[in-house]
C-alpha cells in the first residue's frame, strides 16, 4: 500500500499502469482461433478499454484491464469470441 498524500494529489504521472482493473470482470472473453481470421481486428477497434492488443499472432486480450463488457464478442463477425464465466 502506498502512503496517502494531502488532498489525494497524485504527484506521479502515468501511475494508472500500476493499477490492474481487470478484477472487476465477472465474464471473460475467450477467442477461438479456429474461427478468428486474425486480420479484421474488430475486437481491437471496438474495445472501449484498449484491452485488446494487436500482435503478429492476431488479437490478444489483456486480462489485467479487460472488464468483461462483451463488446468484442458482440462485434466479432466470425462469432469467434465467447464470454465465459470468470472463476476465481
Amino acid at each position: 500500500m502506498a502512503k496517502i498524500t494531502t488532498g489525494a494529489i497524485n504527484p506521479e504521472p502515468g501511475s494508472s499502469k500500476k493499477y490492474k482493473t481487470g478484477s472487476w470482470r465477472n465474464m471473460k472473453p475467450v477467442i477461438d482461433f479456429n474461427k478468428c481470421t486474425k486480420k479484421c481486428l474488430f475486437c481491437y477497434e471496438y474495445c472501449p478499454d484498449s484491452a485488446v492488443e494487436k500482435t503478429k499472432d492476431g488479437p490478444k486480450i489483456n486480462y489485467d484491464y479487460c472488464k468483461g463488457c462483451g463488446i468484442c464478442a458482440y462485434e466479432c463477425p466470425k462469432e469467434a469470441i465467447t464470454m465465459e464465466q470468470e472463476e476465481k
Partner: protein, 393 residues
Amino acid sequence: MKLIVRGNEATAVGAKLSRPDVIPAYPITPSTLFPEKISEYVANGELDTQFITVESEHSAISACIGASATGVRTCTCTASQGLALMHEMLFIAAGMRLPIVMPIGNRALSAPINIWCDHQDTISELDTGWMQFYAEKNQEALDLVIMAFKIAENKYVLLPAMVGLDAFVLTHTMEVVDVPDQKDVDDFLPPYTTSASYLDPTKPATVGSFGTPEYYMEFKYAEELAMNAAEKVIDEVFAEFKQKFGREYKKINTYKTEDADIILVTMGSMSGTARATVRQLRKDGKKVGLAKLTVLRPFPEKELLECAQHAKVLAVVDRNISFGFGGRVFSEVAGKFINRATKPLITNYVVGLGGRDVTINDYKEIVADSENVMNTGKVETQTKWINVKKENL
C-alpha cells in the same frame, strides 16, 4: 482607520485586506453586497484580483476549487439556497484540502421563501469538512475573515472555512469597524504558498483522483486529524491577532460563567441580546451566564467542558432545527457530555427561525424555564420552541 459599514462590506474589506488572487462570486440575498463591493474595489484599482462573475453558486465554489488547486488564495461568498446548491462541492473543497474562505450571510431555507436570518444554512453543512466561525458583530466578521485565511492555510490544517454573519441583523446593519492597516495584515497574513503547487506543468500531478476502498478511509481520517490540528492553530492565530490588532477572540466567548448556575449557549448576533439579558438578570441576583460559540467546527469541546464545569443547567439556544431531533447545537453540546461523571442538565430552545426577532423577553422565558428545570431536576420537554404562535396552526 474606522469605517461605518454593513456586515457584507466588513467581510468584503476583510477579503480585500487578505489579497485573494481569485474571487468567483454569484449574488444572493443577503450577501449580494459582497460581490458588489469586490467589483467596486477591482474597478477602483484598490484590489488586484481575478473577479469572476459566474452563473451559479455551484460554479462559484467550483471556480474557487479550481483556483485554489493551482496554489493561490481564493474566496467567495453566499447564503442559504446558494450554499445548499454548493453542497456537493463543499465536500470536494475539503477533501482536496483547499483553504478556501467563504463568508455566509446566515439565512433561512425555503420553503416558504424567506430571506431573513437563521443558522439553518451553515448548520446543514456541518459535516462537509469545513471549519465554521460565527460573528456576533461586523467587527468580528471582518476580523474572522482575515483569521480564517491564516488558519485555513496553515500546513497542518489545509481545510476550507466559512464565516457566518447573520442575515440583515449584521449583513445590512451599519456598525463602526476598526479596519486594520494593510501593512499589518500583510505581516499577519503572508502570501499563500503551498508545497504542492498542484497545477504546475513542470511537475504534473493528478488532482481530484479516484480513491478506492483500500485508500478512501485514510484520506477521511487525515481530514479528521487536520480538524483536530486546527484546534491548536485557531488558538495560536487568535493569540497572534490579539497581539497585533488588540482584539481578543476565543472559541467560546464567556460572560459571567464562572459562578453561573444557568449558562445560555448561543451563536451569532443573538448573543448580544443574551448578554444584555444576563446583565439585567444579574441585577435581580440570578446567577446566569453566557457562552457564545465563535467556533463550531472544529467543535470546542475542551472549552465547553471547562466553562460549564460548575453550571447546573446549560440552556442551548438554537437558531436552527434538525427536524425530528431538536436543535443541532444542542445535540452537539449534549454529545460532548455523554461520558462525563458530573454533567449539567441540558435544555434546548429553538428560536428566531426565518428572521423572527430574538428578544430579551425570549431569553427571560428561556432562563425561567431552565430555572424550573434546575429546581425540579427534570427536563419535561427536551426541545421547546420559543415565541411560536401555536394557536395559528
